[in-house]
Each structure stands twice: as C-alpha cells, then as structure tokens.
Symmetry: C2
Subunit: 157 residues, 2 copies
C-alpha cells in the first residue's frame, strides 16, 4: 500500500559532498573501510568487522549505531545498512561514492530512508557534515576530529 508517509520516506535523504585535496581514491577508500581509518574521523570508539556481511559498531558514549556492510567496491563505493541504533535510523542506508577530479577526490554521501523531516534529521544532517569535514581534515592535514572531540551542535551532546 502506498500512502503519503511511505512516499515521503522514499524521498527523505541527507546528501553531502566533500572534495579532498591532494588525495587518491585508495587513500580515501581506506579511511572508509578500515576500523582504524573510521576511528580517526567519525568516532574513536569504532569496532567490528568491515567486510561484506560483517557488522561495524560505532559508539558515542551511551549510544551508537551498528552498520551491516552491504557493498565494498575498492576505490569506488561503500554501502552500509543500519541494523541497530535509534529508531529513526533503523533500516536506513548510508553510501559513499568516490571519484577523482584532477588532484581532488570527491566523496558523494547519501543517507537515505528517513521517514519524516523531524528535528533529529536536521541534527544528523549537520552532524554528518561535521564528520565529513573531519574526514577531509584527516586526509589533508593528518588530523581528524572524531567523537568525542568533534563540534557539538546542542547542549545534550
């Protein structure tokens, strides 16, 4: 059955792009598919198995997300699905598509499957940008700002 809510969910996504100067597809890809790489730009408390069918645990103090790895295309694409975490995230998919543009590596990011444009979606959209800028900084300057050192957007963080 198609209803307005389902239709809304189908098209509610968070989109981002970061271009990373003087980097290669391989360098960027490695930071997205290794627990060590992920822990240097998203959350310092990252564990699990980054292989197709494996689950990666991202923790931020009391809460966090479990992501099942659905696709790994070397130097090209990473796709995860949320299998545990806040209700609004359950079942949503997160992808990173990479391409080269001269000396820059471009990361096109999508987090799709949000059902409603709730305030938490506003929060998570900007938070994704904060962490993707941390990824850019890690690769350009050697230093990211993973949780718990990232920019805070609200008093409860």
């Amino acid at each position: 059955m198609i209803n307005n809510t389902a239709r809304r969910g189908e098209y509610a996504y968070v989109l981002h792009k970061v271009g990373i100067r003087s980097s290669s597809l391989d360098d960027v890809y490695r930071t997205l598919i290794t627990v060590e790489g992920l822990s240097r730009w998203w959350t310092s408390d990252t564990r699990g198995e980054s292989k197709v069918g494996g689950v990666i645990q991202f923790r931020f103090g009391s809460g966090g997300f479990d992501m099942k790895v659905l696709e790994l295309q070397p130097g090209k694409r990473v796709l995860w699905q949320v299998v545990d975490g806040p209700e609004e995230w359950l079942g949503t998919k997160i992808s990173f598509d990479l391409k080269q543009n001269g000396d820059w590596t471009i990361v096109l990011f999508k987090h799709e499957g949000w059902k409603e444009p709730v305030e938490f979606m506003h929060h998570c959209s900007t938070k994704w940008a904060v962490f993707l800028l941390s990824l850019k900084s890690l690769l350009e300057n050697g230093k990211g700002r993973p949780w718990p050192d990232e920019i805070k957007l609200d008093s409860w963080e």
Copy 2:
C-alpha cells in the same frame, strides 16, 4: 498534474541544525536580518534590503543568489525565496527557525523545493553546513568564515 518528478521535488530538501552556545534569540536573529550580520558569516559581498518584500543580493565572485524576503518574525523565523541565481535554486525557499534551549540558541534550517538529488544538491547541502558552522563560530567566538575564506569543497570553487 502530479507526476514523479513533481512529487520528488516536493520532498527534496536540505535540512540542518546548529546550536549556538551562550547566545540569545535576538543576537542570532540580528545576524540573519542585517546585511552586516549576513556578510560576517555567509558572504562578505552581501547587499540589498533586508525587509519583507525587499531583495538581498549574495555574491560569490562571478555568481550568486538574489533572495526575496518573505517573512521576518523577530527572534523566531526568517523566510526567503530565491528570485535569481542558478536554475536549481530558482523558486526554492530557505528558512531559519529559532528557539531557545537553556543557554543555547537552536537554529533549524531548511532549503526546500529542490527538484532532483543532483550532485549540485550534495555540494550545496555541505556548503550550507560550512556556512552555518561559520555563523556558530561568529556568535561563539566573534569570528566567522564568510566567503571567500570558507572551507572549499571542490577544485572549481
């Protein structure tokens, strides 16, 4: 007539949120409704009339946007509509909704009316985050990073 493109457009939006520490609704509102305030966090080349029915010109070197001011609710809400600029932006609406949360002022941002999730939408979404973090920095630390000093996301910027 309703078709898939129109339906998609209806629900394609960029959402963001920034919380600004130790600030008041009035302080944040002023940076959104004065040419001087806007020029300290978005683009240093901002001109025009920020009053309901007026048009504000935002310039970034060769290109830019003209925004018609549709709503100004003191300490609460600002709404603009794009009347000149890139094709993807024409007719889209941009809103800032403000609320207080203890010592923080929360800005809920929405840019709605995008027709398709094109790469330029990815770019603009992250760019909005970059500038909203500049707004946060301006109010928290007295220094924003408006164009041309903001973080660049691609080689063509």
